[in-house]
């Protein structure tokens, strides 16, 4: 513990800590929309490991070279806990990287939970272990490079080595979450991580970390049998995990549909879907109710009052379209999302045909454009347009392509552009 406390005080990572925090916050706020479900928030906040891991590796390599001169290394070799020296330094560097990551993560979870009432971390909690494990692996790889390359070049080499390992894992194993965590850029409502892939990836990160640690000890503290056996065991574990990922076909994706029971936000309009999207449904319900009211004032009669999130869509309800990034901006559904949702009153089976009926698709597009104009007050007030919109809606409510009227509506935006 004494060694760790001293290295925590003297590692370059302490000086770099503000930069590390800045990196994680910059990544976190470079996108919006993640706060609406906790799984997305956790996943996105972890994606900073793609920058933080190489940075941490670079610092570990630099410190291993700069701070641990020949004098200290020769003293370590003849000391009881000498083998812990480099590892303790790497752990100190990792502590700062993990703290920077945790700062952004805590902020993401707080914003999602308290401001957006995002819920449903559910199956995403392992990411909270995966990210620190990935950072540890990357940092220990940096320590390996620092013990091999005695010079300032160790730092950039370590950065490159971490990126190369992640890229290699992507090419060979089909996962970008080795020594990093691939964050989701889209909403994760209705999805969950593949438990087996996640577990093996986590094991791979830990095995890589163990292999790097054993390599450093062997390199720095002589050819002890224990270090050799540890390095061999860790390398075998790496091979086993890599084989596991290939066997599990990680390339096919690391997400699968969630099986959680759906929840509904009830009211004049009902919005349902997987539980982790509940905060979204509450906002969507208000926006859809206001949209329906506005369209009915404009003379359109809408029969459907139940909408399902796209990930849980059924043939009994309309399909909710939502861009969570726009939810942040407007505090409610964007006019186009309201129009898209209301113009899809049923999930018609025909939509899944190899050759879906053009009439239905064109009708839905025309109707959505017309609704969007009405909702934003940009047009759609002509009686013939309203009549065509009503007929199109009726056809879509019955999934009847033959009933879609011949109608080509040009949105106000397009008219303006022309």
């Amino acid at each position: 513990m004494t060694g760790l406390v001293i290295w925590l005080r003297r590692t370059t990572a302490r000086t770099m800590f503000p930069a590390m925090v800045a990196v994680t916050l910059a990544v976190l706020f470079s996108r919006s929309g993640w706060a609406w479900d906790l799984g997305h928030a956790v996943s996105w906040a972890s994606s900073s490991t793609l920058l933080l891991g190489p940075l941490s590796a670079g610092v570990a390599a630099f410190d291993t070279w700069r701070q641990r001169g020949r004098g200290l290394r020769s003293v370590e070799r003849s000391a009881l806990r000498g083998w812990q020296g480099t590892l303790t330094l790497a752990v100190a560097v990792w502590t700062y990287a993990a703290l920077a990551w945790a700062t952004a993560m805590a902020l993401a979870i707080s914003i999602s939970t308290f401001r957006y009432e995002g819920s449903g971390l559910g199956t995403w909690w392992p990411v909270l272990i995966q990210a620190p494990a990935a950072l540890l692996g990357a940092t220990l790889l940096g320590a390996v490079i620092g013990s091999l390359v005695r010079g300032v070049g160790a730092a950039p080499l370590a950065v490159g080595a971490v990126y190369a390992t992640t890229a290699m894992a992507d090419i060979v194993l089909g996962t970008r979450s080795v020594l990093a965590v691939e964050g989701a850029t889209m909403s994760l409502v209705g999805l969950r991580p593949r438990g087996d892939v996640l577990a093996v990836t986590l094991a791979l990160d830990l095995a890589l970390g163990a292999a790097f640690a054993a390599s450093v000890v062997r390199r720095e503290h002589g050819r002890s049998r224990k270090a050799l056996v540890s390095a061999c065991a860790a390398s075998l574990a790496v091979l086993a995990c890599a084989t596991g990922l290939v066997t599990l076909d990680a390339r096919e994706g690391h997400l699968e549909p969630s099986t959680a029971e759906r929840v509904c936000v009830l009211g004049d309009v009902e919005v349902c879907g997987p539980p982790e999207g509940e905060a979204i449904y509450r906002v969507a319900q208000r926006s859809l109710a206001a949209g329906i009211s506005q369209l009915e004032t404009a003379g359109l009669e809408l029969g459907q009052r139940t909408y399902d999130h796209a990930s849980a869509a059924s043939s009994r309800a309309g399909v909710l379209s939502v861009d969570t990034a726009l939810l942040d901006r407007d505090g409610g559904l964007d006019a186009w999302d309201v129009a898209s949702t209301l113009s899809t009153p049923l999930l018609c089976e025909e939509f899944f045909d190899a050759d879906p009926p053009v009439e239905l698709l064109e009708g839905q597009w025309n109707l959505a454009s017309w609704m969007s104009d009405v909702l934003s007050g940009a047009g759609g007030v002509a009686a013939d347009e309203r009549s065509a919109a009503q007929k199109t809606l009726s056809a879509l409510e019955r999934c009847a392509p033959e009933s879609v009227p011949q109608w080509a509506y040009t949105s106000a935006e397009l008219r303006e552009a022309e």
Binding site: M1, T2, G3, I6, R9, R10, R66, Q67, R68, G69, R70, G71, L72, S74, V75, E76, R77, S78, A79, L80, R81, G82, Q84, G85, G222, R223
Partner: protein, 248 residues
Amino acid sequence: MSHPLLTLDGIHHGYGARDVLRDVSCEIGPGITALIGVNGAGKSTLLSIASGGVRPRQGAVAVGGHDLLHGRARRQGLGKVAFMPQDATFPPRMTAREIVEYVDWMRGAPRSGGRARALQALDRVRLADRAESRFGSLSGGMQRRVCLAQAIVSAPEVLVLDEPSTGLDPEQRHVMVQLIGTLAGAVVLSSHVMEDVADLADRVLVLDDGAITFDGDVAGLRALAPVPEADRAAEHGFLAVLSAQRSA
């Protein structure tokens, strides 16, 4: 000789195809033992082996009766020996006190009292007032004394010092020699400075071409000189040992 604290038995070592040490055996008890030899004679390698930092290709090393090369005994042996390297490169950002405390921790000292032990060791090398100075800001002589402090902090039975006074200015060298003279237990030091050896050593070992060619005291070394009463007789005695060895 009193009970040996350090035993080297049949040590063979080398780098690649080159043999550096050939069947080196000796027992070292309390007092100061100087290991002298020309550059490349194998002194640093032998001292690294004696302190448990390098595993020889062949032979046995024991400290206080504990085998320094194998198993549980190694742990006990390492707790009784400390090494002061020739190259005093320690983390430049650490303070003198932190370096000594860190090495104390590495040697397996108990957690409590580490800071006090470090300050005490620095006081012994007359650096109490620079305890919180960064290592990189200290002069070469002071850095060497920090290096000595880290070696004595855990009160080892065997202290291995690799050229402790080499490269120091006369004043710092004098301080270093004085400090070494106060050390207890078995002290094994290598040096090129025959004056220091003559002042300090109770016993002298001459290492030449990987083998011990002289084992005696300073008076015995002086006796080998053409004029034993002359100034620098110890140095001439050393040269006589080398010359005799090479002509043989």
